[in-house]
């Protein structure tokens, strides 16, 4: 497939006098896992927010599947097949885990209001069909035991996992993960890495993730884009980025700590659909 799934072309975002993103361009090919890294305040979350339609760029375009969708609202973006998780877990706290994940399938559900009210015929069949799909995701993420628990009462690591389940329930083409491993211990991080790789290889979902744990980033991503002060300073395979002097200066520190020395041990099961792009700093 030659056409990238998502193209961000020269996007700038301003909040008043503050420029959060300056001419950022990013291409994400189908089937890729792309990590977006950068120091705090570099504009990573802003970039995800622009892609998911919460902010609209001041200049530049966003193309999804080759079509311009720069100024869509979040529900429209969701209809295109984009799902995401949030940096600080945004679960529906008052609802059960099951209901949370069922909500993720909202766009897959059709039906007349009247039949819903009567819980009859197609309405009930639809509910059951989606319940089955949701149960598959529950199995996949190993959260069977908590499906009836109120989401707000769960520990943090599980909440993150439920949030991933809710995003997966939409069967997205592009999954945006905002710090999926923040605040997790080593075991939870390993679980989450496994889930992300499995989602990518089993469902063919394209994934863009923001992460601070360099070990994780270098291990699981096919490509890494680095932001600093709202500009993209590097973009390439983990190895290329690791050696990039601009990145080392801006982010990893000049002392070249090379966070994860070992080359990616969990080698991606699906190779990137096309060779990683070499892009000099913006």
């Amino acid at each position: 497939m030659t056409l990238p799934l998502l193209e961000v072309e020269g996007v700038s975002v301003r909040f008043g006098a503050l420029t959060a993103l300056t001419h950022v361009s990013l291409e994400i090919a189908r089937g890729e896992i792309v990590a977006i890294i950068g120091p705090n305040g570099a504009g990573k979350t802003t970039l995800l927010n622009v892609i998911s339609g919460f902010y609209h760029p001041y200049e530049g375009r966003i193309l999804f599947d080759g079509r311009d969708r720069t100024n869509l609202r979040p529900p429209d973006v969701a209809e295109l097949g984009v799902a995401r998780t949030f940096q600080n877990v945004a679960l529906f706290k008052g609802m059960s885990v099951l209901d949370n994940i069922m909500t993720g399938r909202l766009l897959k559900m059709r039906g007349s209001f009247l039949l819903d009210a009567l819980w009859w015929g197609p309405a009930q069949r639809q509910e059951l069909a989606h319940r089955e799909a949701v149960e598959r995701i529950i199995d996949f993420l190993e959260i069977q035991a908590i499906r009836k628990t109120r989401a707000g009462t769960l520990p943090y690591g599980l909440q993150k996992r439920v949030e991933l389940a809710r995003a997966l329930a939409a069967e997205p083409q592009l999954l945006l993960l905002d710090e999926p491993m923040a605040g997790m211990n080593v075991e939870e991080k390993e679980d989450m890495c496994r889930f992300i790789l499995d989602v990518n290889s089993e469902f063919g979902t394209t994934i863009a993730l923001i992460e601070h744990d360099m070990g994780v980033v270098m291990d699981i991503s096919h490509r890494v884009a680095v932001l600093d002060y709202g500009r993209k300073i590097a973009d390439g395979t983990p190895d290329e980025v690791r050696k990039n002097q601009a990145v080392l200066d801006a982010y990893l520190g000049v002392s070249s700590e090379g966070a994860s020395a070992a080359p990616s041990e969990t080698s991606p099961r699906i190779a990137p659909a096309k060779p990683a792009l070499e892009r000099p700093g913006a």
């Binding site: 998911s52 339609g53 919460f54 609202r73 979040p74 529900p75 973006v77 969701a78 209809e79 984009v82 799902a83 995401r84 949030f86 945004a90 679960l91 529906f92 706290k93 008052g94 609802m95 209901d99 069922m102 909500t103 993720g104 909202l106 766009l107 559900m109 039906g111 209001f113 819903d116 009210a117 009567l118 819980w119 309405a123 009930q124 509910e127 059951l128 319940r131 089955e132 149960e135 809710r166 939409a170």
Partner: protein, 358 residues
Amino acid sequence: MIYREAGQFKTTYAADQAIFPILQDRIFVALAVVGAFVIPVRFANEYWLQAVLIPFLIYALAALGLNLLTGYAGQLSLGTGGFMAVGAYSAFKLASAFPALNIVLVFLLSGLVAALVGVVFGIPSLRIKGFYLAVATLAAQFFLIWLFNKVGWFVNYAPSGTITAPPRTVFGVMVTGPDAAAGARYVAALAFVAVFALIAKNLVRGRVGRSWMAIRDRDIAAEIIGVRPLRTKLLAFAISSFYCGIAGAELVFLYLGSAETLAFDINLSFLVLFMVIIGGLGSVLGSFLGAAFIVLVPIFLTNVPHTVGLNLPVALAKQIELMIFGGLILFFLIVEPHGLARLWQITKEKLRLWPFPH
């Protein structure tokens, strides 16, 4: 011991998604519904029906409506009284304009009118939330009452400004008007509330209810899932006002017989909001418990001094009653902010293990 689901295995998702997944609950609810239709009509006297049961059912329906909006969709509203007035005045206009129209249809149509009005006053909810939305709906309350007071057309230019329930029959039984028996009016109110409670339950456990709760709990996350805030909130306003409209029509047609706008003033809005808060936000059962609490406790408090042989002056008794009532509301809110429904849920969970909690 008795209330335990041991041995009840669910083999289909349909069984797991039933409203009452536990057998004991199903038996209890079936008995309660049948009992509610049969026992009071045969055994309750006029006082119980007129002063307790009929207002309870009508308030329960209104509380159910407000609970859908405030408890499930998270949109705080103080316009309940206004929306109920819309229902009542539309029912009056419809019944007097089309005397041949079945009274059940009149109720449903007046609910639809209230739903339309609710949608109009729900539009600000896209931009404002919480207390500010409450103030915006307060505008609906005052505007609607002012409108019904000001425009004579709504009361068919009656000089007294009151609307009166005309005599109407359902299946040959007189249910509204001065000659309708309390039993018939009770059954009519019960039938409405039973059907609409079931519909409310179906809505909140499905697609619609999940989108409401998603907007309530995290509107940002809901949007990226594909919930459209305006459509979802307006639907909540429409359904809620539909319920409140029917409750308002019932208030005049099945309970009061005739009413002025005073019956629908801001106090009614607060009363229904108290029911929802005390009963439990986001709970169908809570709407009923809250309505029962608000209707029964004052009656209970009035009668207690008499039964223990205490003869207080009427004015003093009334004051004490108000004070105790206020105290009880505070007590419940402190002990269980999630309302009576939550207390009931905790009781059920304790009962599952009782009498061997380990």
